[in-house]
């Protein structure tokens, strides 16, 4: 056979094999995802009704009721977490990418990486030591701080990476127009990278919304309606944890519904972010 023709066929065969392998890998990755969705929706949908959103939990033995307090609690907790985590994360990321090309910068970068690898329960223990012990009781604030700390590494690293993606030429363009460096950084660089940073923030918030372990030591949980920052507060994730291991069939079902609601909340959050940060201009 003509050698060039042989290699041509060989190349084609290799291409087909590699394409198939990639496809198989993608399918394997999809399997658990589909199962999670399927189980959560099919098991949780039966208890999903208006009551779940507006009613309070019923005492043991009574069926029905909802998790209004836990939904509000989760929102408040990630709100507090966001207020702490977003500014600190974004500013640290900005510092690292714009000014962090020195020893201090690499130390901060290293510590951020370590922090992102720390088990969330450890963060809970730290918040417990720093906030709960001095205040002498569990509180939403302590939970929020714990969640905020957990968000920081994600937001910091995404911000840094996103800002690094902004072409150097844009910074130079700003500076060459006689715009001071700090204004160039905020009004041009951060604005250009904003979409990517928003994705990072969203990842941070989503992760925080699903955290259970740090909340056990900090926000604790609450069977009643509370939005007081200084008091223990309920949250969906802790409810899921409690109800799923409870010996009552009814509670187990409600745990599934809580999981479904948590997923919906994150989806809505994600969608809102997409819409808010959508570019004013159509890109080609």
């Amino acid at each position: 056979m003509n050698p060039s023709k042989f290699f041509h066929i060989k190349r084609k065969v290799t291409s087909v094999i590699m394409m198939s392998l990639s496809l198989v890998a993608t399918l394997i990755a999809l399997v658990p995802l589909v199962f999670i969705f399927y189980y959560t929706i099919s098991k949780g949908i039966s208890y999903l009704n208006i009551d779940f959103f507006i009613a309070m939990p019923k005492p043991v033995g009574e069926t029905g009721g909802g998790m209004a307090n836990a939904i509000a609690g989760t929102l408040l907790l990630i709100g507090i977490g966001g207020v702490i985590g977003i500014p600190v994360g974004v500013m640290t990321g900005t510092y690292l990418s714009e000014f962090g090309n020195n020893k201090f910068g690499s130390v901060v970068r290293f510590l951020t990486d370590v922090l992102s690898g720390v088990p969330s329960i450890v963060v809970g223990v730290v918040a417990y030591t720093l906030v709960v012990i001095p205040m002498k009781h569990f509180s939403a604030l302590a939970g929020g701080i714990a969640l905020g700390i957990l968000m920081i590494p994600t937001i910091t690293r995404t911000t840094e990476e996103m800002i690094k993606l902004v072409p150097h030429s844009l910074r130079e363009a700003g500076l060459a127009l006689g715009i001071p460096k700090w204004k160039t950084t905020i009004l041009i660089v951060l604005k250009t990278a904003w979409k990517g940073i928003a994705t990072g923030i969203l990842l941070g918030l989503s992760r925080a919304a699903g955290e259970t372990a740090p909340l056990l030591f900090t926000a604790l949980g609450n069977r009643f309606w509370s939005t007081k920052v200084g008091q223990p507060i309920a949250s969906l994730s802790v409810y899921i944890y409690d109800y799923a291991k409870a010996p009552f069939e009814d509670w187990n079902q409600q745990a599934w519904t809580a999981a479904l609601v948590l997923m919906l909340m994150i989806s809505i959050l994600s969608l809102t972010f997409r819409i808010v940060t959508r570019s004013k201009y159509k890109t080609k």
Binding site: P167, S169, L170, R171, E172, A173, G174, L175, A176, L177, G178, I179, P180, K183, T184, L187, I188, K191, T192, W194, S279, K280, Y281, K282, T283, K284
Partner: protein, 249 residues
Amino acid sequence: MDIKISVKNLEAFYGKNKVLKNISIDIPRNKVVAIIGPSGCGKSTFLRCLNRMHEVVGGTITGSIQVDGEDLTKTDPVLLRKRLGMVFQKPNPFPTMSIFNNVAAGLRFNGVRNKKILTPIVERSLKQAALWDEVKDNLDDSGVNISGGQQQRLCIARTLAVDPEVILMDEPASALDPISTSKIEELIFELKKNYTIVIVTHNMQQAARVSDSTAFFYMGELIEYDKTTKIFTNPANKQTEDYVTGRFG
């Protein structure tokens, strides 16, 4: 000769690396001076020194650079850069801003927010950059949704809006097609009536076409600086002759 920029014994360093060696050159007012030379000869660094953009990439200089007799190494770089605007190799409009806001950026970010003041300046700048007719109906469109050549003229308009005295161009047409290139070159002929222009280019023909004087840099040294006609018909230096005739190295 009416001197706009006077450079004396300029040396530039990146760290310990000396990239410009004892450069002395006078740039006349309302003329176009082209800087040519092979890659790495220091021509871009020289241009950056003129509005202290070399500091942004960590360079240091010794010697003196005077603009209208004023030593610019002693002035605030932020103020200086309004007087010596810069146009870069690749068009770099701000992607998050409209065409209008791109042109107005230099003024808006320095506190001019009144639209009544900005509108005529934006219009004037776009007209000067020969872009007005092409974009006047879509000033609110994104600055990056126009063609590369238009983007580069937008960047020139943006530079003109802050009313500079000198325009520094760093290979302004090297990323553009021939038609856009000739538009930029024609623009340079127009602009030199009101501005002093220093243009770095690796395209010798471009230097020949647009400039009044040409400086040839090699290995960080100024080899020859003379009228463009002289450089391209009868250069005094052998190295210059070899370079402009394409016999280099």
